[in-house]
Homo-oligomer: 262 residues x 2
């Protein structure tokens, strides 16, 4: 989904190589860019959310144990993750909440609110357009686009739906790099191609299909039915596990079932 760079920052004869530095300072712009494992990146937003809770509760510091518990991970993993950002904790005390919030926001690129375009204002698109969680967590929905002329002009949270024909103009106007695709599956690939051509480099895809995009474009996919199917596997396993040791007919007793119509 996203490419990894396994380059070693400094060669064996580099005079700085003897000083281990957890940060990759290769950018040289004063903006440090740590080399972050993907698994760590995926957890940072959860830490950030938990930290905001501690901040609202008036905590000035938080221990790795408390923060990890609030984020649903173990403390060793949390400390390992945070160590990739550098050292921002104090032994015997914990982490300064405000400092850590700032550090994570900085690493995630959330110091500035990012403009997002939402394409496909149907059932789900409507819900996403009205979702307050984006605004409070670093994003601004800057454009709504739909192919149905009947929906063009409709206002959601004060923002008017534009026709998909205006996609290129709208993206240019707002300088949008991130788009959410909530169109029918048939339209998703061609919409993605137009978005990329218009400068989008990150896509969140709700359509149940694989998008083909050029290198350098990141795609994340959310498929609601897939999530349920994964849960179904675990349901199935739990039911079988309960039935097998003693052959109990009570297995899956609570499972509601009916033939699949295919």
């Amino acid at each position: 989904m996203s490419q990894h760079r396994n380059e070693v920052p400094s060669g064996p004869t580099d005079p700085t190589a003897s000083v281990p530095d957890v940060r990759d300072l290769s950018s040289g712009t004063g903006q440090q860019l740590p080399e972050l494992p993907e698994a760590t990146v995926a957890r940072l937003p959860e830490y950030l959310r938990a930290l905001h809770h501690f901040a609202e509760a008036g905590h000035e510091t938080v221990s790795s144990e408390a923060l990890a518990s609030a984020a649903g991970v173990n403390s060793a993993k949390l400390r390992k993750d945070l160590s990739h950002l550098g050292s921002y904790g104090t032994r015997g005390v914990g982490y300064d909440v405000v400092v850590l919030v700032g550090q994570i926001e900085s690493v995630l690129g959330l110091t500035h609110r990012r403009a997002v375009a939402l394409v496909g204002i149907g059932n789900l698109g409507h819900a996403l357009a009205g979702y307050g969680g984006f605004a409070s967590r670093g994003f601004r929905i800057a454009a709504l686009l739909d192919a149905d002329p009947g929906r063009v002009g409709e206002r959601i949270n004060g923002l008017a739906v534009r026709h998909i024909d205006d996609l290129e103009a709208v993206m240019e106007e707002h300088r949008i790099n991130i788009a959410v695709i909530a169109t029918p599956v048939q339209a998703a690939q061609s919409v993605a191609e137009r978005l990329v051509a218009a400068g989008v480099t990150s896509i969140l895809n709700f359509a149940p299909c694989v998008l083909t995009v050029p290198d350098g474009v990141d795609v994340r996919k959310v498929d609601l039915a897939v999530e349920l199917q994964i849960l179904s596997f675990h349901e199935h396993r739990k039911a079988s596990a309960a039935s097998s040791p003693n052959g109990s007919a009570l297995a899956e007793r609570r499972r509601a079932e009916e033939p699949v119509s295919s």
Copy 2:
């Protein structure tokens, strides 16, 4: 999120141990339960979706290369994943589409349609209740619940919204094991507890919080803002990478930004 069992199916003196069997037949009910890596489980729904496309296009067989491409993975990974289900391909030919669909559906527990309860019929809940993708992929939304008396009785796709006070009765009535939480974050934990007490063992959580549930209950979380924040990290990194080698001021030129109001 879900516990792993690392038990070896048979001991060193087990007479069957000399015959390697990819399937864990410990269930003894004739229902084979392969020991499946979580990463594999998470990809099976994607293979299933791709297989349905091939079936609709009239293909009777499909090669690992073609199926992997349609699912967005490489063919080695696909073959490794499918090998955990047993051997269902034919060398020189590929996989029988219909057979493989049946095998994956069987492993995922999708041979019977599963009843799902949806709690929280707000913005997002409405969209989920109207989403056709659940019905076509193995699920039936059997109950809608909300705490707002003003919403009770409203019908979505012919199903009436029930009051949350009736949660226990509704879950018992439909024998529901899987629930989707789309409530405000403040309500999510207590709703989860009531669902678990009423027999739910799998939860798909859209509320931006960590749910605490007993062992044996599986929770999957979908957080839309988290997905965007992960994309934001990659946007940030791409912009920095573009600027650092030559110090170009054009870096992040396209990034729309404004101060975060916190």
